[in-house]
């Protein structure tokens, strides 16, 4: 009789799926694993380093680098939420354990630096043109000077 009551369990165990999970886990889309930076889009504004609660992010504008200390990062997603250019993103893979407190540095490529410098140059030129136009308007008479000043304030 004992065998008969056992038979059910044996049969169930033979034809059922494994009770445990596979070790390779599939992470859901929104898992906060680690921070990544798309340096071609990044403008090195430094907002992420200001908003980071653990000061894990360092932005070096002179050397054009963006670095993060993964061991200090608490994966709170603050930097990603505050990024104005949306170049920061969270990957699903977790930071691997290590013996040293490493720092990951991302450097802007030459192409991206050139593109951003071209943008800056164009912006400076536009500003210079606007200043010249303003100076010309001021020379033209007192009446048009007032609206020109207003438009300048709006730009600020």
């Amino acid at each position: 009789m004992a065998f008969i009551s056992f038979k059910k369990t044996i049969l169930r165990n033979l034809f059922s799926k494994p009770y445990t999970r596979k070790t390779e886990k599939e992470y859901p889309e929104g898992t906060r694993g680690h921070v990544e930076n798309d340096m071609d889009v990044c403008i090195l504004c430094g907002l992420c380093s200001i908003k980071c609660p653990t000061h894990a992010i360092t932005v070096d504008k002179a050397a054009k680098t963006w670095s993060i200390r993964p061991m200090s990062c608490i994966q709170c997603r603050c930097c990603v939420d505050n990024c104005p250019k949306k170049c920061l993103s969270m990957g699903t893979k977790f930071q691997e354990p290590g013996e040293e407190k490493i720092s990951k540095t991302f450097k802007q490529s030459e192409k991206a630096i050139a593109a951003q410098e071209a943008l800056m140059k164009a912006a400076k030129e536009r500003a210079a043109q606007a200043a010249a136009a303003k100076a010309a308007a001021a020379q033209g008479g007192a009446a048009p000077a007032a609206p020109a000043q207003n438009s300048e304030e709006k730009k600020d």
């Binding site: 929104g30 906060r32 608490i74 994966q75 997603r77």
Partner: protein, 359 residues
Amino acid sequence: MSNRSVIPFGPQHPVLPEPIHLDLVMEDEKVVEAIPSIGFIHRGLEKLVDKKDFNEMVYVAERICGICSLGHGLGYSEAVEHIMDIEVPARARYLRTIWSELSRIHSHLLWLGLLADAFGFESLYMDCWRLREEALDMFEASTGGRVIFSVMKIGGVRRDVTDEMLKDFNERIFKMEEDLKTLTRPFLEDAAVQTRLRGVGVLTSEQADALGCTGPFLRASGISCDIRSTGYCAYGDIDFTPIVSTEGDSYARTKCRILEIFQAFDLIHQCIDKMPSGDIEVPVKGMPNGEYMMRIEQPRGEALYYVKANGTKFIDRMRVRTPTFANLSGLVEILKGCDLADVPILVLTIDPCISCTER
């Protein structure tokens, strides 16, 4: 007259996930007195209010404890919101309720597993933790984290949950309910388990009231006291009655917690059905100025958050009174007169969370 001896229990003990030390004064096999001492993992998180501004402090509050992390973030945010007179949108309140109930499910399932391990049921322990994994998966899908969720913020929540995901949660919870029904049978019906739990460590309702116990530990002694009845978050809108047992022994505490898991399933279903649409956060303007005492119901009982702000971005004082701290006096009481072999289970039945207690 027999001699008295003192047996040190903890801070490292197989049954204790966290360090607490008890000096057990023994008379033969009976415990006459238990003297607890804490302070092995004090981290000084309350002092960090000097260093982190009131928005960043949410992340510090979440790290007070790994199991009740969501509750700590919630309690701190609610306290600051009350100081700043912020009206949290309805959807955010409902999401907070769903997450708190999920955290109750995962905390209670963890505790059930530890209890099974304490009385020697290894596979039951694994089964409980396997079921807990489902709750953690739901957390991971909706918040992005499994232990530290980082979804609370002052003025609302940081992440919205889509309607498809909520529907999926409904189904997953129905499945969990089925699995839990089979899991609870050994806890509540097995004869061997009952001999370890029934009539052990009885705390009468007068004692529980006088010692200021909280949570399932108090409700198992027949006192209906649950902070969720005050109606913070969305608890005021949904149908909720506290679960109470009258026996006051270890069995009653186990039963109380198991029924609370089932109740949590029901509360999540209710929240998903009534989920309003709209914003999940409101912008926060200005700095907090004033003080507030917020009480919330953690899985382990009533937790109290005191926040005093001075109008700058740094808060003057944050104080957390956690449920385990309140329950320790009850633990000392129930340990008196018990057998040495029952001590591990009795320590477990208050669901000790020492990280919370010491902060």
